[in-house]
């Protein structure tokens, strides 16, 4: 033990005196190499009584650390450079592999759409996916046996009900249960009997919106939709309101926005027209208000409905609607 103490002091002092890197290397070998002094002290350990064994062992270890540190410091100063210094913790190694999850892109899109309308003052109301004929059709001025139903080919259920073909039944539900002023957006899944292809799916997501109050007209509708387009796709993007037909709005229109891919110049996506259709809209048909018990002479309103997949496809440049429902990991992990 004493012998060791001496050696320890001695060798640490020697480091200080060395002026040549070669000498330093020699010293390093003498102390640390496999046949060096430190190793020879180690060989003594097994023969010692337990008490001494422990104390010498600890001393040897601490010497090794101190010696190595000093040796390295000296080497650095002799070489005049600051060499890479591996500390005892390599902070460059990866951390624990916690992973963040992902919302589905359709819900990411919903958040944006609903966020915009919430900010204007619309409330969110949801409705069931299984509906009756009254809420899905009759209350929305689709007479029975009317060709207008062709555009919304429904799945009928063995319980006598049907899968809603749009989110507009929520309009009927809300109008029948509350009084104007009403401003509601309603998100949800809808179903139509269209085979799956790049732009159709028999299940899709829709967001309905409607506002009923005194003195509501086309100008209010245009103003609201313009805010939406500006927030969703960029300020200053133009819109146009093309006359169309829906049984539950009159006048009815389809809303096009200036093609975001070609800035309206014409490209493959907009079929060279410079415009992209994004939703249906219109002034709520007086029969819809009347059948829900409201005085259409006093109140009027507008309504609009947009396909969430379509908005997502445009916003995030997804070319094929089927991708949303394939749930491939590569797809699911892409969107935050």
């Amino acid at each position: 033990m004493k012998e060791f103490e001496q050696y320890r002091t001695n060798s640490l002092e020697r480091i200080e005196k060395i002026k040549d890197p070669k000498e330093l290397e020699q010293l390093k070998n003498e102390v640390l190499s496999r046949k060096g002094r430190l190793a020879s002290f180690m060989t003594l350990l097994p023969g010692l009584p337990p008490e001494e064994k422990r104390s010498l062992g600890a001393a040897l270890n601490s010497f090794k650390e101190e010696f190595t540190e000093k040796l390295n410091a000296k080497a650095e100063s002799l070489n005049g450079v600051s060499a890479y210094k591996p500390s005892s913790v390599d902070i460059t190694m990866e951390g624990f592999p916690f992973s963040s999850g992902r919302r589905h892109l359709i819900n990411v899109t919903y958040d944006k759409i609903l966020g915009i309308f919430r900010a204007i003052g619309f409330s969110i109301v949801e409705g069931p996916e299984v509906e009756d004929d009254h809420n899905n059709f009759e209350g929305l001025n689709f007479p029975p046996d009317h060709p207008a139903r062709d555009t919304q080919d429904s799945f009928f259920l063995d319980n006598g009900l049907l899968l809603r073909t749009h989110t507009s039944p929520v309009q009927v539900r809300v109008l029948e249960s509350s009084k104007p002023p009403i401003a509601v957006v309603s998100p949800g899944k809808c179903y139509r009997r269209d085979p799956l292809d790049a732009s159709h799916s028999f299940m899709f997501n829709q967001t309905e919106g409607f506002l009923v109050d005194e003195n509501i007209g086309v100008a209010d509708l245009k103003g609201t939709i313009d805010i939406f387009i500006g927030e969703m796709f960029g300020k200053g993007i133009r819109s146009r309101f093309r006359p169309h037909f829906f049984p539950f709005t009159e006048p009815s229109m389809e809303v096009d926005m200036e093609c975001i891919f070609c800035k309206g110049k014409g490209c493959g996506v907009c079929k060279q027209s410079g415009w992209i259709e994004i939703m249906g809209a219109g002034i709520i048909h007086p029969s819809v208000l009347e059948s829900a018990g409201h005085d259409y002479k006093k109140y009027s309103g507008f309504a609009f409905g947009m396909g969430v997949e379509r908005i997502a496809m445009l916003k995030y440049r997804v070319g094929d609607m089927r991708i949303f429902f394939e749930n491939d990991l590569e797809f699911l992990r892409q969107f935050r």
Binding site: G101, K189, F241, E250, S252, L332
Partner: protein, 781 residues
């Protein structure tokens, strides 16, 4: 519907270029979905004239012709038999392109050089006629472009269901008239048809609710023949093939005026014509040679023996016009749309007639159609005489008119319009517009718009769409109603964000699915079924979500993931119920693998899942209770049901391997699913205060005999530890070789009133030990 520009221009002249016209139609509600030039891919075909024809030695077919385009002469070898010197013909110059992609090159035939080609109709893409060269009228200027005279643009408009009046060329001409501010030319017709005798075919309407008007015209000894070119070409532009004059005239009238008529062979009608509902299971063979089984809601045109036609939908064999037909009876009727629609849908027949009748035809059309047909018969063929028209009309068309309030119009369209402007727009659309003293309007509705014009708003839309919404200044709406927060919707967002931040990927599955996929998981009965599925593999609504999530897992095994956590929020269905659930599927390790997780990656086992669910319940402010679970899709003994206030709201566990139905999933799959609504709490939490005194923990390890479960021990422990027990966890567990299980519980004590002394804690722990000894026969270790 498809329209031909040439056909349209028979009724209205305008020089607006077609692209501009299409744009204006689209912007006023008639969306032009596409168009095609008839000779789009034709190039360098000019008007030529045959100057000389010479015989070719050793050939009786081929002749050598000299053709001029007015400037030069070309030598052309030609095999057609119908040409003679002086004929004007379509001439494809060398380098010309013909429809179908054929290119004309200089060639040598039997050593004779041929510089170009004279064309048959077939070669020009104008029909099937290949028997000879298309001989033209001499009026065409030599050398000018053939396309210039014969081109056409066929375009397609998406006619909305409220505009049946647009389903004809004349109807579109009226609409175009409103855009270019012109009235279309009237269609030439025999305005008053005077028969020579009472109609030999009588009519009886037994179903007046389904047939509001039935007119019949008997034509004696009519000569059927092939149609003239102008009729044939018009029909060909609609994609139809010309049959014979009588059939073609009926079709021509349909595409011209929008009213379907039906021609019967009058000699094959037994007795009178009866318009009635079919008998149940009554049968007939329609002209497409299909046997149809009818039902009591199907309206038929019958004679005293058989069904002649399914009214407004399709004719039947046995009474149709043939080349041997001598006398005809022409039906010109109005049927009630809903009856026609039901029959058409039930039988799955899409005819041009049904398409128009189900949308509603002009109530004035029957006589107009007959007048037009007689005019065309006189022009193109011969007949002996006409019978008196039979017409079952009971009252002439009248419409009460619509009062449009100026206030409503301004409010809805958000614009102030001069009354003159309003009346101008409406009168170009064939409405009568009368200004009233109070500033409002009385609108007279033409018969062909009667079906659609019921309400003030209908008229306002007409004004709006022609005026143009582009001219309405947008206004930011002022929303008076406060935005409701919808706390349940926000709760779902919280749930979604919770799982996302724990590393779960959100999936989106289609709710309509394959029954077998659920049967594999032991679901039986009580499926909500789709009555009219797209196919038999998509015939039920999902009764649960997790099998769909496992499906997603299986599909993604191609990436060989070592860890995967999926979740979805959605509705599940059964009977009439619809329940919103959240579903989780975990596979492999809870964490991904790297150096740091290598020793800590948790296998997603039952207790990982149980902890996950307890944490989620904690987030929602609920305390989960777990019970036995016997769902067939879980491995026995490795599943729990989730209870809330004693009611089962879901379950979780390790999926029984055999249920997954795929060999590609090597490691175990854990799943969970529970209803969301019961977990949603409206009330906000209230601050309860907290203790400032020190906490102290104590561990006790006791050996319990076999068969005692930790849940029971924990309950007893908590009940006996006194009110200062803050929390207790099962800290460790190990088997005792001699028998029994040693459990270590860590208890944490804290008082809200003082710092607990060692003796306070000792006595609480002592009470616990005593109770556990008594209750479970446990021994302190």
């Amino acid at each position: 519907m498809k329209y031909s520009m040439n056909w349209l221009k028979r009724y209205i002249e305008f020089d607006t270029p077609h692209t501009e016209l299409f744009e204006r139609l689209s912007m006023t509600g008639s969306e032009v979905e596409g168009f095609k030039e008839k000779f789009e891919d034709m190039e360098n075909v000019v008007i030529g004239k045959i100057l000389k024809i010479e015989a070719v030695p050793d050939s009786d077919k081929i002749r050598y012709c000299s053709v001029t385009d007015g400037k030069e002469e070309y030598n052309v070898v030609c095999g057609a038999p119908n040409i003679k010197e002086g004929d004007v013909v379509p001439f494809a110059l060398t380098g010309a392109r013909l429809p179908g992609g054929m290119k004309i090159k200089k060639t040598k035939i039997r050593g004779l050089e041929s510089q170009g080609m004279m064309c048959s109709k077939k070669e020009l893409g104008m029909g099937a006629d290949h028997t000879g060269i298309f001989i033209l009228d001499e009026k065409y200027a030599l050398g000018s472009d053939f396309k210039g005279y014969f081109n056409d643009i066929v375009f397609e408009i998406e006619v909305t269901p409220n505009r049946p009046d647009l389903l004809s060329h004349y109807g579109l001409a009226r609409e175009v008239g409103a855009l270019v501010r012109k009235k279309p030319n009237p269609v030439p017709r025999d305005e008053e048809i005077r028969g020579k005798y009472e109609s030999p075919v009588k009519v009886e309407v037994r179903a007046p609710e389904a047939c509001t008007r039935y007119a019949l015209l008997y034509v004696k000894n009519v000569q059927n023949s092939p149609s003239p070119p102008e009729i044939r070409e018009a029909l060909e532009s609609m994609g139809m093939t010309s049959k014979d004059l009588l059939v073609d005239i009926s079709n021509f009238n349909l595409f011209e005026g929008g009213h379907p008529t039906h021609f019967f062979d009058a000699d094959r009608i037994a007795g009178k014509i009866i318009i009635r509902f079919a008998a149940e299971n009554e049968k007939c063979v329609t002209i497409d040679k299909e046997e149809r089984t009818l039902t009591v809601s199907d309206l038929v045109i019958a004679d005293e023996e058989k069904v002649l036609a399914i009214a407004g939908v399709i004719g039947c064999l046995g009474s149709e016009v043939t080349e041997n037909t001598v006398n005809i009876a022409i039906e010109s009727a109005v049927f009630t749309p809903s009856f026609i629609r039901r029959t058409k849908q039930r039988l799955g027949i899409d005819s041009d007639a049904a398409y128009r009748f189900e949308r509603g035809v002009d109530p004035e059309a029957p006589l107009a159609s007959l007048g037009r047909i007689v005019y065309l018969l006189k022009q193109y063929t011969k007949f002996e005489s006409l019978g008196n028209i039979v017409d079952t009309l009971r009252s002439a068309y009248s419409h009460p008119g619509i009062i449009v309030k100026n206030e409503t119009l301004e409010r809805i369209l958000s614009v102030k319009l001069e009354p003159e402007r309003i009346c101008e727009i409406l009168s170009y659309l064939s409405f009568k517009c009368e200004k009233l003293i109070n500033g409002d309007f009385r609108i007279g509705v033409p018969s062909f718009r009667a079906a659609d014009m019921k309400h003030e708003y209908d008229v306002i839309e007409e004004v709006g769409r022609i005026y143009g919404y582009a001219q309405v200044e947008p206004k930011r709406p002022y929303i008076r109603s406060p935005a409701g927060l919808n706390p349940y919707f926000s709760f779902k967002e919280k749930v979604r964000n919770h799982f996302v931040s724990r590393g779960y990927l959100e999936t989106l599955n289609i709710s309509i699915c394959d029954e077998d996929a659920f049967k594999a998981y032991g679901y039986t009965g009580d499926f909500t079924k789709v009555v009219n599925p797209l196919n038999q593999n998509l015939a039920v609504l999902a009764p649960s979500l997790f099998p769909r999530l496992i499906g997603v897992l299986v599909k993604n095994m191609k990436y060989n993931p070592s860890s995967l956590k999926l979740f979805e929020i959605g509705n599940v269905f059964g009977g009439k119920s619809e329940t919103e659930v959240v579903s989780l599927v975990l596979y492999g390790n809870y964490f991904d693998e790297n150096w740091a997780s290598r020793k800590k990656t948790l296998e997603c086992d039952l207790f990982t899942l149980k902890g996950e669910i307890a944490a989620f319940f904690d987030l929602t402010g609920n305390t989960a209770e777990f019970g036995e679970c016997s769902e067939p899709f879980y491995t026995a003994g490795s599943a729990c049901s989730v209870l809330l206030n004693g009611e089962k709201i879901g379950h979780f566990g390790i999926i029984e391997k055999s249920r997954i139905g795929s060999k590609r999933v090597p490691r175990s799959v854990a799943a969970a699913e529970f209803s969301l609504k019961p977990l949603f709490k409206c009330e906000d939490d209230v601050y309860t205060g907290y203790s400032v005194f020190q906490k102290a923990s104590r561990d006790i390890t006791m050996v319990f005999p076999a068969g005692v479960v930790s849940g029971d021990i924990m309950k007893t422990l908590k009940a006996s530890a006194g009110r200062d027990l803050k929390s207790a966890v099962l800290f460790d567990i190990f088997e005792i070789p001699k028998g029994g299980t040693a459990l270590t519980f860590r208890m944490t004590f804290q008082s809200s009133k003082k710092t607990l002394s060692d003796s306070d804690i000792d006595s609480a722990v002592g009470a616990v030990i005593k109770k556990l000894k008594e209750r479970f026969n446990a021994e302190l270790r």
